[in-house]
C-alpha cells in the first residue's frame, strides 16, 4: 500500500510550502504531490522613505515602519499571505506606474527567486530521507518555473509524464487548464487538453489503477463550482450564484479510462470529493492566504482506494 499526501494551489505561501515538506513525516506518508499554482499573485512594494523608515500598504492598511525589527515583521506578514515584498523607493514607484512591462519583470524576478528558495529548502530538508516529492506547475505558474523545479535534486517535475508511484500505480500529471477569464500561462481549448491527456493515458500500463493528477477539476464534479462572473469579472449575485467551470475534456477521459484516483485543485472554494463512475476525485481546496495547508491523504491499495481523508493543516 502506498500512502500519498496531496496539496495544491499554495500560491507563493512560504508557510504552506514548509508545511507541505513537513507533511510527509507529520502524516506518515510515502509520497508528497503538489498540484499546480505554486506562485503568488501579488507584489507588495516596501517603499523606502529614508533612514530606517518604510511605508507599506498591506490589504489596504497603511503601515509605517521605523525599525529593522518592524521591517522584518512586515516582510514576514507579507510573505505569510503568499505575496512578494519588493524593496523600492518613491521614484521607482512613480516609474513603475508608467511601465507595466517593468512590473511584469519584477513579478517574474520575485516569483522565480522564491521558487528557487523553495527548491533549495526542499533539497536541504529532504536530504537523507526517502520521501518522494512530485510537482507539476499549474496554469497560474510561468513557464520559467519549470526549469528551476527541474534543477531540484528532491522535487521532481512530472508535467506531461507517466510516473510510477509503486509497482501497481502510475500517475499522469498536468497543470494545464481549460480557458479562464484571466488568460493565464498554461491554458488551452478543451480539444487540445484532450490530446494532452490522451497522450499520457496511452502510455499507462493500467489506466484503471492510475492516478490522474490534473490541476483543473472535471466539469460538473462539484469540485469545480466557482462564483459566476459578469463581463467585468465581478461575481454575480454577491457570489451566491455558482457555476461549474471544470474541464469537459478531463471529465470525458475520466469517464472513459476510469482511473483509481483524480487529484485536482484550481478552484479554491471547491474543497471536496466526488465520484465519477468508479473514480474518486479530490479537490482539497486552498486557504493559502491564511497559511493553512489544505490537503488529502490517500492510501492506494491494489485495484482500490484503501482509505482517504481531507486534511486541514
Amino acid at each position: 500500500m502506498t500512502k500519498l499526501f496531496f496539496a495544491t494551489d499554495i500560491h507563493g505561501s512560504d508557510i504552506c510550502w514548509t508545511k507541505f515538506l513537513n507533511a510527509g513525516k507529520f502524516y506518515d506518508v510515502d509520497v508528497l504531490i503538489l498540484g499546480g499554482d505554486m506562485t503568488g499573485k501579488a507584489v507588495v512594494p516596501v517603499i523606502h522613505q529614508g533612514g530606517k523608515n518604510y511605508s507599506i500598504t498591506l490589504l489596504e492598511q497603511n503601515f509605517d515602519v521605523t525599525t529593522d525589527e518592524e521591517l522584518q515583521d512586515m516582510v514576514k506578514r507579507v510573505r505569510s499571505r503568499g505575496y512578494y515584498p519588493y524593496m523600492t523607493n518613491p521614484d521607482e514607484m512613480a516609474e513603475l506606474e508608467k511601465d507595466p512591462e517593468r512590473v511584469h519583470q519584477i513579478f517574474l524576478q520575485e516569483v522565480l527567486k522564491v521558487v528557487q528558495q523553495w527548491m533549495d529548502f526542499a533539497d536541504k530538508k529532504l536530504d537523507g530521507t526517502d520521501m518522494k516529492v512530485y510537482c507539476s506547475p499549474g496554469n497560474d505558474d510561468m513557464d520559467e518555473v519549470d526549469e528551476i523545479v527541474r534543477a531540484s535534486r528532491r522535487v521532481l517535475l512530472v508535467e506531461g509524464q507517466v510516473t510510477p508511484l509503486d509497482p501497481h500505480h502510475e500517475m499522469i500529471a498536468s497543470g494545464w487548464s481549460n480557458r479562464t477569464p484571466w488568460d493565464t500561462h498554461r491554458e488551452e481549448d478543451e480539444d487540445q487538453l484532450e490530446v494532452r491527456y490522451e497522450a499520457m493515458i496511452s502510455k499507462l500500463k493500467d489506466p484503471r489503477n492510475a492516478v490522474f493528477n490534473i490541476h483543473v477539476p472535471p466539469y460538473k464534479s462539484n469540485l469545480d463550482e466557482a462564483p459566476e462572473l459578469d463581463e467585468n469579472l465581478r461575481p454575480k449575485m454577491a457570489g451566491q450564484a455558482l457555476k461549474p467551470v471544470g474541464s469537459t475534456a478531463l471529465r470525458k477521459v475520466i469517464e472513459n479510462s476510469q482511473p483509481l484516483l483524480g487529484l485536482h485543485g484550481h478552484i479554491h472554494e471547491g474543497r471536496g470529493t466526488s465520484r465519477i463512475g468508479k473514480t474518486l476525485c479530490i479537490n482539497p481546496g486552498s486557504m493559502y492566504e491564511q497559511g493553512t495547508l489544505l490537503g488529502a491523504i490517500v492510501a492506494l491499495g491494489k485495484n482500490k482506494i484503501e482509505n482517504y481523508v481531507l486534511t486541514s493543516g
Binding site: T18, N22, A23, Y27, K41, A42, V43, V44, P45, T57, L58, L59, E60, Q61, N62, R77, S80, R81, Y86, M93, A94, E97, I106, F107, D140, T180, W182, T184, N222, A226, P227, N232, L233, R234, P235, K236, M237, A238, G239, Q240, A241, L242, H268, R271, G272, T273, R275, E289, Q290, G291, T292, I297, A299, N307, Y308, V309, L310, T311, S312, G313
Partner: protein, 548 residues
C-alpha cells in the same frame, strides 16, 4: 500611486455588488415571514415593539461586525464549522455546526410550513374562492402537516435547481416582494380605520365564512388573551425582556453575504459590513414603517389583540376559537381595503414572494454542513453523493427531509408539546453563534500571526481589536438571551426550565435540544473512533502541521 501589483491569475475578481449582498442578508431577516409571525406571537409582552426592534438591531449590528471580521480573516473556509474547528477544536466545531446548521433546521421546517400556510396558501385560496380548502389549511392539524410537506417539496426543488438558479429566484422575489410591500404600506397609510373595519367584516365573512362582527369579537378574545404589547414605551427592563422573542426574527443578517475576494483588503470587510448591516438597518426601518402603517389604519391594539386571539387558541390556552378563522395577516388586512379580488390577489401573490425568496435557505445551509462533514470523513461518503443526472444531493436531502417529516408531524399534531418548541429553533442556532463569537473574541490572541496578517489588523477600539470588542458585546447579548430562554426567570418564553415558580418547566423542550447535542457528539466521537480503526487520526488531520 499603486500600493499593490497584481498579475493576471485565476480567481482574481472584482468586488461583488453590495446591493446583491444586501438582498440576500435582507431576505434572511425576513420582515414578512419571520417578522410578522413573531410579532403576532408576542402579544403578551410589556416592552414596546418599536424600541425593542431598535435595541435588538444595535446588538445584532455587533454580530454583523463579528461575522464580517471572521470572513475577512478566514475567507472561503466554510464558515462557523471551520472557524470553530480551527480556533476551539474539532469536536466543538462539529457539534455546534451540525446542531445549529443541520439538526435544528428540522424544527424550522414546520415553522416554514406554518408561515407558508398563513402567508401564501390560506389568503390566496380564500381570495380565489376556495373557502373550505383555505380553512382546512388554516385551522386543522392535517392542514398544518400538509403545508409542511408542501414546503419540503418546494425547498427540495430549490436544492435540485441549484444555487445559481435559486439566487435568481431570490433576486426576483426581492423586487416583487418589495413592490408588494410598497402597495401594502400605501394601502395602509392611505386607508382609514373605518374602511378597515368595514373591509375586514365583509371580506372575512365572504372569503372565510366568519360570523358578522369579526372586529368586535376579536377585540374581546384578544383582550381576554392578555394582549398587551405596546407600540412604544414599556420601560427598558420590559423592552429587554422582549428581545429573546424578537430575535427569532432578526438574529440572521449573517446568513447573507459570506464572500471575500482573493488578494483583497479592508474594502471587502467594509462591503460585508455594509451589505449585512444595511439589511439589518433597512429591515428595522421598514419594520417600523410597516408597524406604523398597521397602527394607523388597522389600529395597534386591534393588531395585537388579533394576534392574541389567534395564538391563545392555537397554543391551547383557550377553547374560544378566534372570530377571524385565519391568521391575522396585515397584508391581507391591507388587501381588504380594496374591494377588487384581482387587486387583493396581486397584493397577496406579490407578498408571497417574501416566503419563496427565503424558504430555500432552510436546506441550503444544512446540505453544506452535511457535505463538509462527509468530506472530513465524519459522515459516510455516500451522504455527499450528487445525482449525476439532476445534480441533486439526494442523500443529504434525505437526511434533511426524513427527520423533518417526523418533526413536522410532531409539531402539527402537537405531540409532546412540540408546538411550544418554536423558540428552540432560535436557541440552538444562538448557541452555534456563541461558539463562533467566542472564536472571534480569542482569535487575535490564539492566532496572532493569522490575525496580524489579515485585513482587519488595524481596527482597534482603545487598543483592543475590534473583533474582540464586538465579540464581547454580541457574546454578552447571546448569554443574556440564553439565560432568559433556559432559566426563564419571568416565565415568558416557555422553552426552558423556568426558575420562576409560576413558570413553565419544559422538560420536553430541553430533552429535544439536549438530544441534538448528544446525537452530534455520538456522530463525532463514533466516527472518530471508527476512522481511527481504519488508520485515520481525526485529531491529526485537523491539527496544524508544524512550520520549522
Amino acid at each position: 500611486m499603486s500600493n499593490l501589483f497584481v498579475r493576471k491569475a485565476t480567481g482574481l475578481v472584482r468586488s461583488w455588488s453590495v446591493m446583491d449582498a444586501f438582498v440576500y442578508a435582507f431576505f434572511s431577516i425576513n420582515l414578512i415571514t419571520l417578522g410578522l409571525y413573531s410579532f403576532s406571537q408576542m402579544y403578551y409582552f410589556g416592552g414596546g415593539l418599536i424600541p425593542a426592534l431598535i435595541v435588538s438591531a444595535i446588538f445584532i449590528f455587533f454580530e454583523v461586525i463579528v461575522y464580517a471580521a471572521l470572513i475577512a480573516v478566514m475567507p472561503r473556509s466554510g464558515g462557523d464549522y471551520v472557524w470553530q474547528s480551527r480556533i476551539l477544536g474539532g469536536a466543538i466545531g462539529f457539534i455546534l455546526a451540525v446542531t445549529g446548521w443541520w439538526f435544528i433546521l428540522w424544527l424550522w421546517v414546520p415553522l416554514y410550513g406554518d408561515m407558508f400556510r398563513h402567508i401564501v396558501l390560506v389568503p390566496l385560496l380564500g381570495i380565489l374562492g376556495a373557502q373550505e380548502t383555505a380553512l382546512w389549511f388554516a385551522g386543522t392539524q392535517n392542514g398544518a402537516f400538509t403545508s409542511s410537506l408542501i414546503t419540503l417539496v418546494i425547498v427540495s426543488v430549490f436544492i435540485a435547481l441549484g444555487m445559481k438558479t435559486y439566487a435568481r429566484i431570490q433576486k426576483f422575489s426581492f423586487y416583487g416582494g418589495m413592490l408588494g410591500l410598497l402597495i401594502v404600506i400605501v394601502l395602509l397609510l392611505t386607508g382609514s380605520n373605518e374602511a378597515f373595519k368595514a373591509g375586514l367584516d365583509s371580506n372575512a365573512t365572504a372569503l372565510f365564512g366568519a360570523q358578522p362582527g369579526v372586529y368586535d369579537a376579536t377585540v374581546t378574545l384578544g383582550t381576554n388573551a392578555g394582549a398587551a404589547l405596546p407600540f412604544t414605551g414599556g420601560g427598558i427592563g420590559l423592552i429587554f425582556l422582549t428581545l429573546p422573542y424578537l430575535v427569532f426574527f432578526n438574529l440572521w443578517p449573517n446568513w447573507g453575504a459570506t464572500l471575500y475576494g482573493e488578494v483583497r483588503g479592508a474594502t471587502d470587510f467594509k462591503r460585508n459590513i455594509t451589505g449585512m448591516g444595511a439589511a439589518l438597518g433597512v429591515t428595522t426601518l421598514l419594520g417600523i414603517l410597516l408597524l406604523y402603517a398597521i397602527s394607523k389604519t388597522i389600529g395597534w391594539e386591534f393588531y395585537v389583540q388579533a394576534g392574541g386571539a389567534w395564538w391563545n387558541y392555537a397554543w391551547g390556552f383557550s377553547t374560544d376559537a378566534p372570530a377571524l378563522p385565519v391568521w391575522p395577516y396585515p397584508a391581507l388586512f391591507a388587501a381588504f381595503l380594496s374591494t377588487s379580488r384581482v387587486v387583493q390577489f396581486i397584493v397577496i401573490a406579490l407578498m408571497s414572494l417574501w416566503w419563496f425568496g427565503w424558504s430555500g435557505t432552510v436546506f441550503l445551509s444544512s446540505t453544506r454542513v452535511i457535505f463538509a462533514a462527509a468530506f472530513d470523513r465524519l459522515l459516510p461518503e455516500k451522504v455527499a453523493e450528487v445525482d449525476e443526472r439532476t445534480g441533486t444531493p439526494i442523500n443529504a436531502l434525505l437526511l434533511m427531509v426524513i427527520p423533518s417529516v417526523l418533526v413536522a408531524y410532531l409539531f402539527a399534531y402537537n405531540i409532546a408539546s412540540f408546538q411550544t418548541f418554536t423558540l428552540c429553533s432560535t436557541l440552538v442556532i444562538a448557541v452555534t453563534f456563541l461558539g463562533t463569537t467566542i472564536s472571534a473574541i480569542v482569535l487575535p490572541y490564539t492566532k496572532p500571526d493569522l490575525y496580524k496578517a489579515s485585513p482587519i489588523a488595524k481596527y482597534n477600539v482603545l487598543g483592543i481589536p475590534l473583533i474582540t470588542v464586538s465579540g464581547v458585546i454580541f457574546g454578552g447579548f447571546l448569554v443574556f438571551l440564553l439565560y432568559q430562554w433556559i432559566l426563564d426567570p419571568n416565565a415568558l418564553y416557555g422553552i426552558g426550565y423556568s426558575i420562576n415558580e409560576a413558570g413553565y418547566k419544559n422538560g420536553a423542550s430541553l430533552i429535544y435540544m439536549g438530544s441534538m447535542y448528544v446525537l452530534a457528539a455520538i456522530i463525532y466521537f463514533g466516527f472518530k473512533a471508527y476512522r481511527k480503526r481504519g488508520g485515520i487520526d481525526m485529531d491529526k488531520v485537523q491539527a496544524e502541521i508544524p512550520v520549522e
